[in-house]
């Protein structure tokens, strides 16, 4: 399922150009950011940054990480493709890369999946299925492979086969996202809306913001002439995605069937407006070069997948070159920068990792999590102004999340600046999310500002919530000592 970010429009048809969601790394923003969140929590430990509250207002760092070279990552600047032959050459290059991967990791199911995915992107679905099947023979516990096979069957209109493969994926990973919704879609395409409803209900339990699932629920109920229910689901879809033109169309239909002509007309007008905007967006595309751009993007995906395998197997130099090449092919692909950032973190090159996260924030300036990591890494590299700016940006983008407030407070405590503000920020963090880390920083801020009365209950609460954290008792002892 593809969603156009500009128009919010979903392609509900099974188009010739759609591909399994996880193959399209540009689109796997959610996946990338989940990884980012996981990495964020590990960033501190990777670089071994532990900040213990200072005494006498002086910051005191206990440990420091090993290396903060200022080397910049030189990313290749790759000329855009401009001829058919270049496209073919690049596709062949991808194939050679994947085949080399198979030679380097013989018998590995991951390499078979990589080449299978590549074949799929090249439109060679038969070969893709062969490789995927071979991968499953080695390791049948690969839900995403079953998912890819299922999506291939959907494209061919073989919906029963698609459902069977989706179910295999669920046997391994019952809460795998985007599976129940595709089962529902397949069942609808097979003229089985009642069964589709069951599957779609499961999807919205797993992914409460799956607007497509709500839309399909609307469709399924509309098909069964349950117009009231259909209306509710379309409205839910629009609540998540206010620019979902298909949902307005569904609402217009449902309201018409319910006899509410005024509402039907209103929704119909909204639908028309959104459609007109979509058409304008289409007109503006640089259409002559689409194939060249798409080929490079596909190549980037291959380089990312291969690079990831080398990284996971400890071949960091190979991985770095491949991932940089991926970034050159598709400078807008967040995942290659994320992969590079991970690589630089593993190899303890925080400045380079920071550069990569900054790239991510340039590509996706509205996503808060990257600013969290930028802030933490900048602080680690003593770039306090950058760190402060990043945390402030985080607060602006995610004012209802505590991370920005907590980390900015921590930064001020570390640098000994704006200490009263640090305490306010920490209090705000706790008010938003009363978790151990927030209580810890609150305790630290209160202690630093001389407010033992507040510091002690805060650190006690932190210890209560996270008794295994070795840092919290240290602060507790500091506070008690002063008291």
């Amino acid at each position: 399922m593809n969603m156009d970010k500009k128009t919010g429009r979903h392609k509900t048809r099974i188009s010739g150009s759609s591909q399994p969601a996880f193959l399209s790394t540009r689109k796997s923003t959610v996946l990338a950011l989940v990884i980012l969140v996981i990495i964020c929590t590990a960033v501190a430990s990777v670089f071994s940054v532990r900040l213990i509250p200072c005494t006498n207002g002086q910051p005191l760092r206990i440990e420091e990480s090993s290396d903060h070279r200022e080397d910049l990552v030189q990313l290749p600047v790759i000329k855009p493709l401009s001829t058919k032959q270049e496209v073919i050459d690049l596709k062949n290059e991808e194939v050679e890369l994947a085949e080399q991967l198979m030679r380097d990791f013989p018998g590995s199911e991951e390499s078979l999946v990589v080449i299978g995915n590549l074949c799929y992107r090249h439109g060679d679905v038969i070969k893709a299925m062969e490789y995927w099947n071979r991968a499953l023979q080695i390791n049948p516990e690969q839900p995403n492979v079953y998912k890819s096979m299922a999506l291939s069957y959907m494209k061919k209109g073989q919906f029963d086969d698609a459902v069977a493969q989706f179910k295999k994926a669920l046997e391994i990973q019952p809460e795998l996202a985007d599976v129940y919704v595709n089962i529902g879609h397949s069942l609808m395409m097979s003229g089985r809306p009642k069964e589709a409803v069951e599957a779609l209900q499961k999807e919205i339990k797993i992914s409460p913001n799956a607007d497509f699932a709500y839309f399909l629920l609307g469709q399924a109920h509309l098909q069964q002439k349950e117009y009231q229910k259909a209306q509710e689901y379309y409205e839910a879809a629009i609540k998540i995605n206010p620019r979902y033109s298909n949902a307005y169309y569904g609402l217009a239909s449902a309201c018409a069937k319910l006899g509410d002509r005024d509402k039907a007309k209103e929704y119909s007008e909204s639908f028309k407006k959104l459609k007109a905007e979509e058409r304008k967006h289409l007109k503006g595309r640089k259409i002559e070069y689409d194939d060249f751009v798409e080929t490079q993007k596909s190549a980037a995906i291959t380089y990312i997948n291969v690079g990831r395998m080398y990284r996971e197997n400890g071949k960091l130099a190979n991985a770095e070159e491949l991932l940089k090449q991926a970034a050159g092919y598709d400078p807008g692909n967040v995942v290659c920068f994320l992969e590079l950032a991970t690589l630089y973190q593993i190899s303890k090159q925080p400045a380079k990792a920071l550069q990569m996260y900054k790239k991510i924030s340039e590509i996706q300036p509205e996503y808060p999590v990257s600013y969290l990591v930028i802030g933490i890494l900048s602080a680690y590299l003593n770039r306090y102004d950058d760190s402060e700016e990043a945390f402030r940006k985080l607060i602006t983008l995610a004012p209802r999340k505590s991370d920005g407030y907590r980390e900015l407070a921590r930064l001020y405590l570390k640098t000994g600046q704006n200490l009263p503000e640090a305490q306010s920020l920490a209090e705000k963090a706790v008010a938003l999310e009363p978790v151990a880390a927030n209580y810890f920083v609150l305790g630290w801020a209160c202690y630093t500002n001389g407010d033992n009365a507040k510091a002690l209950p805060a650190i006690k609460r932190a210890i209560q919530l996270d008794p295994d954290n070795k840092q919290y008792p240290l602060l507790y002892k500091q506070i008690i000592r002063r008291k």
Partner: protein, 567 residues
């Protein structure tokens, strides 16, 4: 010892079952595979025995001009009024960069009966060498014989039937050459109910060689989709009654809507006694022009829920036909489309609204991986329920190189109406005619051998056509109705016919131009199942009165003349 016992057992078994063995072998040797057919519909490929040697050319030279791959339609009509349906194939023409020794042309084949056809193109004078895209048939001058209108890339052509087996090009006199455009479907209709046929001409897109768009997909040269070219409004010509036409596109309202029109069909969808027009727009919302009875049209596609599919997505609409698939007295629409989309069945709810019932009826079965073109609602087995035939074939001739989930050539699809509002795909069980795998485009459906069932003619891109004879074993009774207008247009185009036979009530209309840029079915066919007589036929003439004919025998072709029924 045990081996010997096994051999003895085997010999005993064979002796016991020998007669069955020989019967099975006999059947295998002497029957066609059809004996194993499970479908009540059987279509046999009889192309090679017809004498038809036409081969379509798209006029291309590898430069991927868009009109190459969307060509062409065909017409089934009785040009010489001898009671046998003849065939007119459209052909492409050399495009820029293509050189030929002999210019390809359209071809007219006279039906000699017994599945023999003779090329009479030269004699008839209808071998147009223009780039053929769409065709329609209608007696525009009401002189008693059908005329031909060609919607070409380039100037269109109106051939007036001289009544003696020949035609005269009267385009210039009539004023309907429509300029140098990329044509698509065309229809004759009596839009203002004044007794003569007006002309609706669809235009696909705005094209010039200088602005030709070249594209690649995964490195392979492909035809650009129509969005790369500006959409254009269609044309509507009012018949002045004196052999000439007047362009009323703007004043009628149809000229105010630009689209990428392909297949079109005219029919009275709202049962208000006038002819409306449905246009399948490629890659955009379809248009449904509602006639106010005077030849003024309002576009109501969105309001009637025929513009988009169930999801609110535009389709790559190709061909469109109308027919009453559920026998509720209202005309439904079936629209073919692009790969990755289902051909769509719009059920007429009788309230002025439609509903996309494709998924719940199964009427899109098998269409998803293919590009689909010519289509029709046809009761192949005469059981009183209209089935659906879909012609398939990709428009990218190299598609397998970059997408192996589909193919350039494809088997056509036959969906049998189960009688309870659903369809099942019986393509695999309906004879060798359904195994032909070419890249089909226009399709026509008529009773070519006058044996009471509907046969199929398919134009295949760059290849010979496919002619399918209907040999369905379990035939029900039938009736074919040919209309003859007197005060209204001579062929009864636009007239609504209702056939009542016991508990069965069927409706149909005479259409001119339908399916994918084609024409067929001027003689209406009604499958009657086991009803042994027709109680009454009501004919509502466009712009005229209603005639009622009673107690008609079945299994025959009847001609109903305006004014000769009871009022």
């Amino acid at each position: 010892m045990s081996i010997l016992r096994a051999r003895i057992n085997m010999m005993q078994y064979l002796r016991k079952n020998l007669r069955y063995y020989f019967v099975a072998v006999f059947l295998l040797l002497h029957s066609s595979i059809d004996v194993f057919a499970e479908s009540p519909i059987l279509l046999r490929d009889v192309t090679s025995r017809t004498g038809i040697t036409f081969v379509h050319t798209d006029g291309g030279s590898g430069l991927h001009y868009v009109m190459e791959t969307v060509s062409a339609g065909l017409a089934l009509f009785d040009y010489d009024c001898d009671g046998y349906i003849d065939i007119y194939f459209l052909n492409g023409a050399p495009l820029k960069g293509t050189e030929v020794d002999v210019a390809p042309k359209n071809a007219l084949y006279r039906n000699d009966g017994n599945w023999k056809f003779t090329d009479v193109t030269e004699k008839a004078g209808v071998g147009d060498t223009g780039y053929g895209l769409g065709v329609t048939i209608g007696d525009y001058d009401n002189d008693g014989d059908p005329d031909i209108y060609l919607n070409n890339y380039g100037p269109n052509v109106l051939y007036s039937n001289n009544g003696d087996g020949t035609f005269t090009d009267v385009t210039e006199k009539a004023g309907v050459d429509n300029g140098h455009r990329v044509g698509a479907g065309a229809c004759f209709l009596d839009m203002d109910k004044d007794g003569d046929l007006d002309l609706y001409v669809s235009v696909y897109l705005e094209f010039s060689y200088e602005k030709n768009v070249t594209l690649t997909t995964r490195g392979f040269a492909v035809y650009a989709n129509p969005r790369y070219y500006p959409p254009v409004p269609d044309f509507l010509y009012r018949n002045n009654g004196d052999g000439t036409f007047t362009d009323v596109s703007k004043s009628s309202g149809v000229g105010n809507h630009a689209g990428w029109g392909m297949g079109i069909v005219c029919g009275d969808y709202d049962n208000d006694g006038d002819t409306d027009v449905f246009i399948g727009n490629d890659v955009a919302e379809n248009f449904l022009f509602q006639n106010d009875g005077t030849g003024k049209f309002e576009e109501v596609g969105l309001m009637t829920a025929t513009a988009y599919d169930l999801h609110g997505d535009e389709q790559g609409s190709m061909g469109v036909d109308c027919g009453d698939y559920d026998n509720d007295g209202f005309l439904d629409f079936y629209v073919t489309s692009y790969q990755g989309q289902l051909a769509t069945l719009y059920r007429n709810l009788g309230t002025g609204m439609f509903e996309d019932v494709t998924l719940i009826t199964g009427s899109g079965a098998g269409t998803l991986p293919h590009v689909t073109w010519g289509n029709s609602f046809v009761d192949f087995d005469n059981n009183g329920f209209r089935d659906i035939f879909v012609a398939c074939g990709h428009l990218q001739d190299n598609v397998e190189k970059f997408d192996d989930t589909t193919t350039y050539t494809a088997r056509n699809i036959l969906l049998m109406n189960t009688g309870d509002g659903k369809f099942i795909d019986v393509s695999d069980q309906s004879g060798d005619g359904m195994k032909v795998k070419l890249s089909s485009r226009g399709a026509g459906f008529d009773d070519l051998d006058n044996d009471g069932d509907v046969d199929v003619v398919i134009l295949n891109s760059r290849r010979e056509p496919t002619i399918l004879r209907n040999d369905s074993p379990s035939k029900g009774h039938w009736l074919q109705v040919r209309l003859q207008g007197v005060k209204t247009n001579r062929e009864g185009i636009g007239a609504r016919v209702k056939v009542i036979a016991g508990d069965l009530t069927l409706i149909d209309e005479v259409h001119s131009g339908r399916g994918y840029q084609s024409h067929y079915g001027t003689r209406l066919h009604f499958g009657l199942g086991n009803r042994e007589k027709v109680d009454r036929i009501e004919v509502r003439w466009i712009g005229g009165k209603v005639d009622v004919f009673k107690n008609i025998a079945v299994d025959k072709i009847v001609t109903l003349i305006e004014g000769q029924g009871s009022g």
